[in-house]
């Protein structure tokens, strides 16, 4: 699936953020930098934020540190109330991924994920090349 330039929004999944922090020279980091430059709007459900807090707290990071981490990127954290009614319409079977797809339906945009559960997702190379044009 290709990124549509008519709608410059995308929804990202938890692992995109982890991959960016792990490899700041990688493709995921580059996409997030494009959001900081105002070239793309990135959205994520509030459930992704909750997951990141839990996961990084397991890594012994404080709440303050995690908040600092999350402020690296321009991400529009979206409340459950926006996407909840689309949860029953998602195709993905894996429960943790349902809010991501539901938000993509709510916003009428595509998903950037490293997760194998999503059959339809953005090709990151094509996304980056379209943003570099």
């Amino acid at each position: 699936m290709n990124f549509s330039q008519t709608n410059n929004k995308i929804v990202i999944d938890t692992n995109i953020l982890f991959m960016a922090w792990y490899n700041p020279e990688g493709k995921c980091a580059k996409v997030l930098e494009k959001a900081n430059e105002g070239k793309i709007e990135i959205y994520a459900p509030d459930s992704v934020k909750i997951k990141i807090f839990r996961i990084l707290q397991e890594q012994r990071l404080s709440i303050r540190e995690i908040e600092d981490f999350l402020s690296d990127f321009e991400i529009n954290w979206t409340d459950k109330i926006i996407y909840e009614r689309f949860i029953d319409k998602v195709k993905v079977k894996h429960k943790p991924d349902k809010p991501v797809e539901a938000l993509a339906i709510a916003l009428d945009c595509e998903i950037l994920s490293a997760d194998k559960h999503f059959k339809e997702k953005i090709n990151i190379d094509k996304l980056l090349s379209s943003l570099d044009k």
Binding site: N15, W21, A29, I50, R54, D68
Partner: protein, 83 residues
């Protein structure tokens, strides 16, 4: 909406000089660029801290992602128990 902030005169001069050096249309555009640069620097610091935290746990990034997946499943059950 446009807002004003008070800054010392020497900083004002420095901002105007930088605006001219960078060829920006206005100071706001230049400040936006500085914020992007600042965020990039902080991101690199956080990236280092993130890798160190994983290393301290004595696990690989792949193992970290596996553990993260279990937490994701737990959070999903809490948020959407009946889905």
């Amino acid at each position: 909406m446009v807002k004003t902030i008070s800054i010392p005169e020497d900083l004002h001069k420095e901002l105007i000089r930088l605006k001219l050096d960078y060829g920006d249309k206005n100071v706001a555009d230049m400040i936006r660029k500085l914020i992007v640069f600042y965020k990039q620097q902080r991101f690199l610091e956080h990236s280092k801290k993130f890798r160190e935290a994983i290393k301290k746990q004595g696990i690989s990034f792949e193992e970290f992602l596996k553990r993260a997946e279990k937490i994701r499943e737990g959070v999903a059950d809490e948020l959407f128990p009946d889905k």
